[in-house]
């Protein structure tokens, strides 16, 4: 086994303000920092997309990361993860939509690329730590086990994407800005003269131009493109034609193109019948749901029947619920009061206060 140095940190640099400041703080703390940007996909600019870049990891973002590292006097490398990203993130994205589920590519990217492939590259460079610009915190408890905590800035908290981190990964991870607010981060960046200080947030899925998921699948992942079929109501009555199930997500209201008089939402996607079920808002309310492929930060912190708060998507407030460990593979989450838009394929993340317990992929909701 290699001897890794606790003085050496690989900083994952997206070219945004958060990872820039993370690198800056590490440098100030005396670490030997190596900046790495992950090149994950070909830039859409090459395809004639002239939309201003609000996404991460494009060529100009990598250039920004390089310039920040230069200013910090830190070595910088752009590394090629295009193939791994395509296999683990882009392909998964299309595959899930084709199966009638709604994928979460950011979860997959963190899990398979940042905290797997990049962590391995960090080890290869002799670095004990990988640092990211995530709004999240880790602490070590009295038992010597790591806990993953929400960031101090509740609005920016990104633990939803990080629930897959286990003890081994947390041991080798640093979140240098997790104790700061976004305003504080920008302020530090401005005072240090970092060119990324006022860069806009990246919010959309980085490889999908203009947030057009269906169009992306049609143009870039044609093997996952569905065929046109029927919109039906809960009784199976045909309401209109859909363009293929890859274009829909449970809870969706916009872009359905059917006039029923009432406000309707996608409540289910029936892949075997190639049908998309439309219902009223009330029928989206679920008492709970099951999850699969569950991951735990520390299994010891979890007990059957415990009270938790659960997030069924990023950017919602967590809802109180009970955690029921049905089988080692399957978890049932029962809301204290019914909740809307439980979307199969999305991650459900389990919290106890500020602590992330773990999470899994939503299999199905129940009424």
């Amino acid at each position: 086994m290699n001897s890794l140095s606790k003085k050496i940190v690989v900083a994952a640099m997206s070219g945004g303000v958060d990872s820039s400041v993370a690198a800056l703080l590490l440098k100030q703390q005396g670490y030997e920092v190596i900046g790495i940007s992950m090149k994950t996909h070909e830039s859409m600019e090459n395809e004639g997309c002239s939309a201003p870049s609000k996404t991460c990891c494009t060529v100009s973002d990598i250039m920004d990361a390089r310039r920040v590292c230069q200013l910090l006097d830190v070595p910088f490398y752009a590394m090629n993860y295009v193939e791994a990203f395509h296999d683990k993130v882009v392909d998964y994205f299309g595959r899930e939509y084709a199966a009638g589920r709604t994928p979460n590519p950011c979860v997959a990217c963190n899990h398979h690329l940042k905290f797997d492939a990049l962590l391995k590259h960090a080890r290869q460079l002799g670095a004990y730590y990988l640092a990211t610009g995530h709004y999240a915190q880790k602490i070590r408890d009295e038992q010597g086990m790591y806990r993953l905590l929400k960031s101090r800035d509740d609005h920016k908290d990104q633990t939803y994407f990080l629930y897959g981190l286990g003890q081994e990964q947390l041991e080798h991870t640093l979140f240098p800005i997790g104790h700061l607010t976004k305003d504080e981060v920008r302020d530090i960046a401005r005072r240090a003269g970092l060119k990324t200080a006022d860069k806009p947030e990246s919010q959309e899925i980085c490889f999908v131009p203009n947030n057009d998921y269906a169009g992306f699948i049609e143009n870039h992942l044609p093997q996952y493109r569905g065929t046109p079929g029927d919109f039906v109501d809960e009784e199976g009555k045909v309401l209109g034609a859909h363009r293929g199930i890859h274009a829909y997500t449970v809870g969706q209201r916009r872009g359905l193109g059917v006039a029923t008089g009432d406000r309707v939402y996608v409540s289910a996607i029936l892949t075997e019948k190639n049908q998309v079920v439309l219902s009223s808002k009330e029928s989206l309310l679920m008492k709970g749901f099951t999850t699969v492929e569950n991951k735990w930060v520390n299994r010891e912190r979890v007990a059957d029947g415990m009270e938790i708060e659960v997030k069924v998507r990023h950017r919602v407030t967590a809802s109180p619920a009970f955690l029921l460990l049905e089988t080692p593979q399957k978890v049932r989450v029962q809301f204290k009061s019914p909740e809307g838009a439980v979307t199969p394929g999305q991650s459900a993340v389990f919290y106890c206060g500020d602590e992330v317990l773990g999470g899994g992929f939503i299999e199905a909701g129940y009424r």
Binding site: N2, K39, Y77, A78, M79, N80, V82, L125, G126
Partner: protein, 384 residues
């Protein structure tokens, strides 16, 4: 930290003799060679002298030397120039033959012309050692073939290709033959009197000259259209005031490198052999990529089983050792090598090779330093 530069196929440092020759053209020798007056006349004189000295070394006429901004422009000028010339006479797309292992300057130029519907391309494969068979060019030629393009020396493996044989069969059929000689000039004697070549591209910065200066040799009587329209410079084939410091530097660099060629070739061959043997002995799972028989003196391409070249490049850089692998993209990330893929290596293997390219500054100590560091680095990468 000790710094060892072993990436001379990417670029070379400017020879101090070359720099000295260039300096007047960044100062008192500011004339425009196209001007009538005394300042212009001096510049014109020096420009033509540079052209003559390059022509004398390469064994051609000075009127066959065109100055460009570098190898990429020269290859663009040759390929697009020949193709567009041919299209003036025919309405239909024309046919071009090229090797699959060409540099991107050729590959992407041809891809552009092909996707624009102007040409059809037949790509000639290489064997497992990255060698080209002239016979394959022979059988690829069609009635409407107007151009064959095959590089002189491959930039990744260092393989020397049989350009004379390919050029001969092209000339027998009246087809223009272009060779990208960017990695050949300065490493091999190139004598155009004895080579069957119509168009030859090269770049000064590969042989201790400045960046931004290149040459296209075009045999007299081979018709090409102009791509850069403007003034009547360069026989009306490339408009724009000439890059005087670059051209003077290019000529001086070619003179210096040619004078040193025999001694330097022998010296580099010895150092390369030392590196090659050392790597094979000390690093398990190391494999030489390319032809060990027909290879330029300075290049060594090695694959390491189970190691990604990108990680190896970064780890070597951390020890001050500069080497490279495949082409880099706009962000600087390494792309899998199309050359190694063409040699039948899997994408994984093609991502596991690095190129050491030696040059004038390479010493015995440098090779020893690499052999001291490399085995441990590879071991570490495999175990992580």
């Amino acid at each position: 930290m000790r710094r060892v530069y072993l990436d001379y196929n990417a670029t070379t440092p400017v020879d101090p003799r070359v720099r000295d020759a260039m300096i007047p053209y960044l100062g008192e020798e500011y004339g425009n060679p196209s001007s009538l007056h005394w300042a212009g006349a001096r510049a014109r004189n020096d420009l033509e002298q540079a052209r003559e000295s390059i022509a004398a070394i390469l064994g051609c006429e000075s009127g066959e030397i065109y100055f460009t901004s570098g190898g990429t422009e020269s290859s663009n000028m040759a390929i697009k120039g020949v193709v567009c010339q041919a299209l003036k006479q025919r309405q239909a797309p024309v046919h071009v033959v090229a090797s699959v292992v060409e540099h991107q300057a050729v590959l992407k130029t041809l891809a552009f012309l092909e996707s624009s519907g102007l040409i059809r391309v037949t790509w000639i494969p290489v064997n497992a050692e990255g060698e080209l068979d002239p016979g394959e060019f022979q059988s690829a030629v069609k009635d409407d073939t107007v151009l064959i393009s095959a590089m002189f020396v491959n930039n990744e493996t260092g393989n020397i290709f049989p350009v004379d044989a390919i050029g001969k069969l092209a000339s027998e059929r009246g087809i223009a033959f272009h060779t990208d000689a960017v990695q050949a000039v300065g490493k091999l004697p190139v004598n155009l009197k004895r080579l069957s070549v119509d168009l030859l591209s090269f770049s000064a910065h590969k042989f201790y000259g400045p960046k931004g200066a290149g040459v296209l040799y075009k045999r007299k009587g081979v018709p090409i259209v102009s791509l850069i329209h403007g003034g009547s410079q360069e026989g009306e084939r490339r408009g724009g005031t000439q890059n005087m410091p670059g051209i003077i530097g290019c000529a001086r660099a070619l003179g210096c490198v040619t004078a040193d060629l025999d001694g330097e070739t022998a010296r580099l061959e010895k150092l390369r052999a030392e590196l090659e043997e050392g790597v094979l002995q000390q690093v398990p799972g190391a494999r030489i990529r390319g032809s060990r028989q027909r290879r330029v003196c300075n290049t060594l391409n090695v694959g390491f089983d189970g190691v990604e070249s990108e990680s190896l490049l970064v780890a070597l850089d951390r020890e001050g050792i500069a080497v490279s692998s495949g082409p880099a993209c706009a962000s600087g990330a390494v792309e899998p090598s199309h050359v190694l893929m063409a040699m039948g290596l899997s994408p994984k293997q093609a991502k596991g090779s690095v190129r050491f390219s030696l040059g004038r500054g390479t010493s015995q100590h440098d090779i020893e330093y690499v052999l001291e560091k490399l085995p441990d680095i590879v071991k570490k990468l495999r175990s992580a």
